[in-house]
C-alpha cells in the first residue's frame, strides 16, 4: 500500500506546477522580446533618422566605397580558404588519432578571443618579416587567427554529429585513401559545420576594424570611419548598408545550409550546433 501511495503523490505535482508556468511563459517571452527589440532596433532607427533616406542613393558612388567593399570581400574569401584548409584536416586528425588533445586544442583556439586584437596586432607587427608588414597579405593571416575559435568550434560540432572513425574505416576498407575519404566522405557530411564556420568568418572579416586600420589597409569598416570625417550622414548610411549586406548574406547561408542538411537527414544549421542525425527505428 505504501508503494502505491508514493507512486500517486508526485503525479499531481507536475500538473499543478505546469499550470501557472504555462500562463506566465508567454508574458515573460514578450517582455524579453520587447526589451531586446528596443535595445537592438533603437540605435538602428536613430541611425536611419540621422542619415536620412536620401543618403542611401549616393553612397554607391562615393569614392573608395567600391574598392574598400571589394577588398573586404576578397579578404573574407582568402581568410575562409586558409582557415578551412588549415582547420578541417587538423580537427579531423585530432578527432581520429589524438582525441586526448581535443581539450588542449579547444583551449588554444579560444586564445584569440581572450587576447585583445590590439595586443595581437602589435605583437604581430613586432615579429612579422619586413616584406609583409603593412601589406594587404598580412591581414588574412591575422584574420585566420581571429577566426580560429569560431571555425574550430563549428567544425568540431559537425564532426561530433557523425561517427568519423567508423566512416573513415568503412571508406578505407572499400579502398579509399586518406584524401579521398576526406573529400568524398567526411567533407560532404561536414557541410553544415563548414557553413556555420563560413557564416562566422564572413561576419568577422566584414566587420573587423582594429587590425585593418593598424595595418593601414582601407577595408570597408576602415573606409566608413575615414568617410565619417568627410560626411557623417553618408558614413552612417554606409554602416547600415554594411549591416544589411552582412545580414542578408548570413540569412542566405543559413537557409541554404539547412536545406542541404535536411536532404541528407541532418538538422537545422545554427552557429555552434549541428543537430545530430536521427535514424528511424530498427
Amino acid at each position: 500500500m505504501a508503494a502505491v501511495a508514493t507512486e500517486r503523490t508526485p503525479a499531481p505535482t507536475p500538473v499543478a506546477a505546469a499550470r501557472p508556468r504555462r500562463r506566465s511563459v508567454p508574458v515573460w517571452r514578450w517582455v524579453v522580446m520587447l526589451i531586446a527589440a528596443v535595445y537592438f532596433l533603437l540605435p538602428l532607427y536613430a541611425a536611419l533618422r540621422f542619415a536620412g533616406i536620401k543618403a542611401f542613393g549616393t553612397i554607391f558612388t562615393q569614392q573608395g566605397f567600391g574598392s574598400s567593399l571589394w577588398l573586404s570581400v576578397r579578404l573574407a574569401a582568402v581568410t575562409w580558404l586558409v582557415t578551412m584548409v588549415l582547420m578541417i584536416p587538423t580537427t579531423v586528425y585530432v578527432h581520429l588519432r589524438l582525441p586526448g588533445l581535443r581539450r588542449l586544442l579547444e583551449g588554444i583556439t579560444i586564445l584569440p578571443i581572450v587576447i585583445p586584437p590590439v595586443v595581437l596586432i602589435i605583437g604581430v607587427l613586432q615579429v612579422m618579416p619586413l616584406g609583409l608588414r603593412a601589406t594587404v597579405w598580412m591581414l588574412p593571416l591575422e584574420y585566420v587567427i581571429l577566426a580560429l575559435p569560431f571555425a574550430y568550434r563549428a567544425i568540431d560540432a559537425g564532426l561530433r554529429a557523425i561517427d568519423v572513425k567508423t566512416l573513415t574505416e568503412a571508406a578505407g576498407s572499400l579502398g579509399a585513401g586518406w584524401l579521398t575519404t576526406l573529400w568524398r566522405v567526411i567533407l560532404p557530411n561536414l557541410r553544415t559545420g563548414v557553413l556555420s564556420a563560413t557564416i562566422l568568418i564572413v561576419a568577422l572579416v566584414l566587420g573587423e576594424f582594429t587590425m585593418a586600420s593598424l595595418d593601414l589597409q582601407q577595408t570597408f569598416p576602415v573606409w566608413i570611419v575615414l568617410f565619417d570625417q568627410l560626411d557623417a550622414q553618408m558614413s552612417v548610411a554606409a554602416s547600415i548598408f554594411a549591416l544589411l549586406v552582412t545580414w542578408l548574406l548570413l540569412m542566405l547561408i543559413t537557409v541554404v545550409a539547412t536545406r542541404q542538411s535536411r536532404r541528407s537527414g541532418g538538422g537545422e544549421v545554427t552557429l555552434f550546433t549541428v543537430a545530430p542525425r536521427e535514424t528511424i527505428g530498427n
Binding site: 557523425i162 567508423t166 574505416e169 568503412a170 572499400l174 579502398g175 541528407s264 537527414g265 528511424i280 530498427n282
Partner: protein, 378 residues
C-alpha cells in the same frame, strides 16, 4: 590447454565447398581465400589484448570468434582488416603476409557494429562506392550496385538515404556494400548487435545464405553465443587474448575443452566432485564417473554437467528440494537445491515435471559418461 583443431580444417572446408556447390552455381564460389593468423600478439599498455593467437580459416569457411567483451576478438578482426597492427605475429592471406599492406589495399569487405553508411549518399551510391574506388565505370558500377541491392532485397530502396532506412536495412546495405568489391575476405564486426531480436534473426539467416552462396571466407566477431553457434562452420571461443577452443558448434557444446568454454556456451551446472587419487575418476552425487582430460588432477573440484544430462525424480528423503520451475515448451527447467546449498538446473520433459512442485523432495542423478571437471570456485 587451448586446443586448436587445425586437423579438423580440411573436412570442414570440404563440407563447406559441398554446400556451396549444392546451393548455387556461382562462378568462383568455393575458390575462396584462406586466412591464417600466426601467433598474433597485441598489447595496449599493460593489458594483452591478443596473446599468441593463432587461427586458420579455410577457403569459403565462416569462422565466428566468440567471447566476452575485452577478450580480444575485435582486436583480432581489426588486425586482419588492417585498422590495427600486431606487435608480433603475422596475418597470411592465401599464404602471403599482409602485415605491411594498408587496409585500403587488402580487398576486405567489412560490416561494422555501428551504422557505417555514408550519410551523404543514397543506398545505391553507398554500394557503388567501393567500385568507384576501383575505377569501375559509371554504368557498370550502377548495374553491379543495383544487383547487390537486389541480392539483399533492397532494390526498391536504392534511392533512399541512410536516415530514411531502418537499422536492419542499413546493415543489409552495408553488407551489399562490403560484398560489392568481391572481397577476398568478409569481416563482420558484431553487425547484428544494434538490431532488435526479430530483425537480428532474419538477418542472421540472410548473411549465412549469402556467404555460402558466394563462398566468401568470413570472419565473424560476436559476443552472442546463439549467433555464433547458428551461423558458423566453426566457432573460436576467446578469453584474455587467447583462443580457448576452436571447434564445430556441436562439438563445442557437447565436448567443451575447458571449463571456461563449457560455462560460456550454453547453461552449465557445477556439482561438487571428489577426485580419486589418480585423478582419473570422480565421485559426483555418490556416483563414480570417469573424468575428461583437461581439468585439475587433485584438490577440491566441481563437475560440469549440462541441465539435459541430469535426471531428477521425486523421492522421499532425496538429497534435493525443488525451488522453482520454468516452463520452456517441451521441456521444463527445474531448479533444485542440493544439500550443501548447491543450486542446479535440470531439464525434464514437461509431463515429468508436473509432480515436481516447489518444495518437493527429489533425487538427482547423472549418467556414467565422462565428465569435465574444474577447480572449485570459492
Amino acid at each position: 590447454m587451448p586446443t586448436n583443431e587445425i586437423a579438423g580444417n580440411e573436412t570442414t572446408a570440404a563440407k563447406a565447398a559441398q554446400t556451396v556447390a549444392g546451393l548455387d552455381a556461382v562462378p568462383g564460389a568455393g575458390h575462396g581465400t584462406s586466412v591464417s593468423l600466426r601467433s598474433l600478439t597485441r598489447a595496449f599498455g599493460a593489458t594483452r589484448a591478443l596473446d599468441e593467437m593463432s587461427l586458420d580459416i579455410a577457403p569459403g569457411e565462416l569462422v565466428a570468434l566468440l567471447g566476452p567483451s575485452g577478450c580480444g576478438k575485435t582486436t583480432a578482426l581489426r588486425i586482419v582488416a588492417g585498422f590495427e597492427f600486431a606487435d608480433s605475429g603475422e596475418v597470411l592471406i592465401d599464404g602471403s603476409d599482409v602485415s605491411g599492406v594498408p587496409a585500403a589495399k587488402r580487398d576486405m569487405g567489412m560490416v561494422f557494429q555501428s551504422y557505417s553508411l555514408f550519410p551523404n549518399m543514397n543506398a545505391l551510391e553507398n554500394v557503388a562506392f567501393g567500385l568507384r574506388m576501383r575505377k569501375v565505370v559509371g554504368s557498370a558500377r550502377r548495374k553491379r550496385a543495383g544487383e547487390l541491392l537486389d541480392m539483399v532485397g533492397l532494390a526498391a530502396q536504392a534511392g533512399q538515404y541512410p536516415h530514411q532506412l531502418s537499422g536492419g536495412q542499413q546493415q543489409r546495405v552495408a553488407l551489399a556494400r562490403a560484398l560489392a568489391i568481391e572481397p577476398r575476405v568478409l569481416l563482420l564486426d558484431e553487425p547484428l548487435s544494434a538490431l532488435d531480436a526479430k530483425v537480428r534473426l532474419q538477418l542472421r539467416e540472410q548473411i549465412r545464405t549469402l556467404q555460402q552462396r558466394l563462398g566468401t571466407t568470413t570472419l565473424f566477431v560476436t559476443h552472442d553465443q546463439e549467433e555464433a553457434l547458428s551461423m558458423a562452420d566453426r566457432v573460436g571461443v576467446m578469453r584474455s587474448g587467447k583462443l580457448e577452443q576452436v571447434a564445430e558448434p556441436a562439438d563445442l557444446y557437447s565436448r567443451p575443452a575447458t571449463a571456461f568454454v563449457a560455462e560460456f556456451v550454453g547453461t552449465m551446472n557445477r556439482l561438487p566432485a571428489e577426485l580419486s587419487g589418480d585423478g582419473k575418476t570422480a565421485t559426483v552425487l555418490g556416483i563414480t564417473v570417469p573424468v575428461q582430460d583437461g581439468g585439475p588432477a587433485s584438490g577440491p573440484a566441481d563437475a560440469l554437467i549440462r541441465p539435459e544430462n541430469l535426471t531428477v525424480t521425486p523421492a522421499e528423503g532425496g538429497d534435493g528440494i525443488v525451488t522453482g520451475r520454468t516452463f520452456l515448451g517441451a521441456v521444463t527447467r527445474v531448479a533444485v537445491r542440493l544439500s550443501g546449498d548447491t543450486e542446479i538446473a535440470v531439464d525434464v520433459s514437461s509431463t515429468a515435471a508436473l509432480p515436481m512442485a516447489p518444495g518437493t523432495a527429489v533425487r538427482v542423478s547423472l549418467p556414467t559418461a565422462p565428465v569435465l571437471v574444474a577447480a572449485r570456485e570459492s
